[in-house]
Amino acid sequence: MLEMVMFYVFATAAVISAVMVVTKKNPVASVFALIITFMSIAGLYAALSAHFLAIIQILVYAGAIMVLFLFVVMLLDLRKDEFFFSTQKSIKILGIAIVCVLLAEIYTISQNIHIPSASGAFAEAYSGPGGNTAAIGRLLFTTYLLPFELTSVLLMVAIIGAVLLSRRR
């Protein structure tokens, strides 16, 4: 019951604010709408008993990444005419076509997919008191050790790239 209420509340908030991200003309408003979307998705993670990811979603996405976005939006002196949608007619037709095709795809998939639902094991092992952070950490440092170390290299490359790009020559 609680999960159902959480799902519908957060899903509605996520979809409405996602539409606002795309339709708002002011980029700052878009950034704030996107923050609400990320918060709602964090709530959905919590409803799915993914505690670690719910916190990381708020810390990394709604916190760090969106602050970076907001910073850049306010840094750039954007002219008013750049806030608008594309004026080309072919782009609009393409947008409508994408919506139709993907909606049809979602309908087909949601009608035909049948995944056996979760047994009790997940709830006991990963969603008890204390959360699933320890379980994820164990997985990261055993099965996924190499990808985990590679992400540190990736972040290093990103830092160097950002510094090199923003340096004034």
Binding site: F38, Y61, I65, F69, G95, L102, E105, I109, A158, L165
Partner: protein
């Protein structure tokens, strides 16, 4: 809650992001729409992780978040550079690499 609820929600968010990439001309909004699409896929990963009783999906979300963070850092640096050179972020006017 069945898996289909999450499938449909994730699909809706992905559609909104994809349409945002297509119809908006502001490079920053396009970038935010890409983040939206990444998040919809993350949501699907977590939903499948729960319903298939397998924690690997949540580890993958962790990796996707890391890649997204790196992408945002470099992408925003590029956007700032473009704005510095051409004083616009309208992607219709940034066609230097079109042939």
């Amino acid at each position: 809650m069945t898996l289909n609820h999450y499938l449909v929600l994730s699909g809706l968010l992905f559609i909104i992001g994809a349409v945002g990439v297509v119809i908006r001309r502001n490079a920053l909004i396009i970038f935010m729409s890409i983040e939206l699409m990444l998040n919809s896929v993350n949501l699907l990963f977590v939903a499948f992780s729960k319903y298939l009783n397998n924690l690997s999906g949540q580890v993958f979300v962790f990796f996707v978040m890391t890649v997204a963070a790196a992408e945002v850092v470099v992408g925003l640096a590029i956007i700032v550079l473009i704005f510095r050179n051409k004083s616009t972020v309208n992607v219709d006017e940034i066609n230097l690499m079109k042939w």
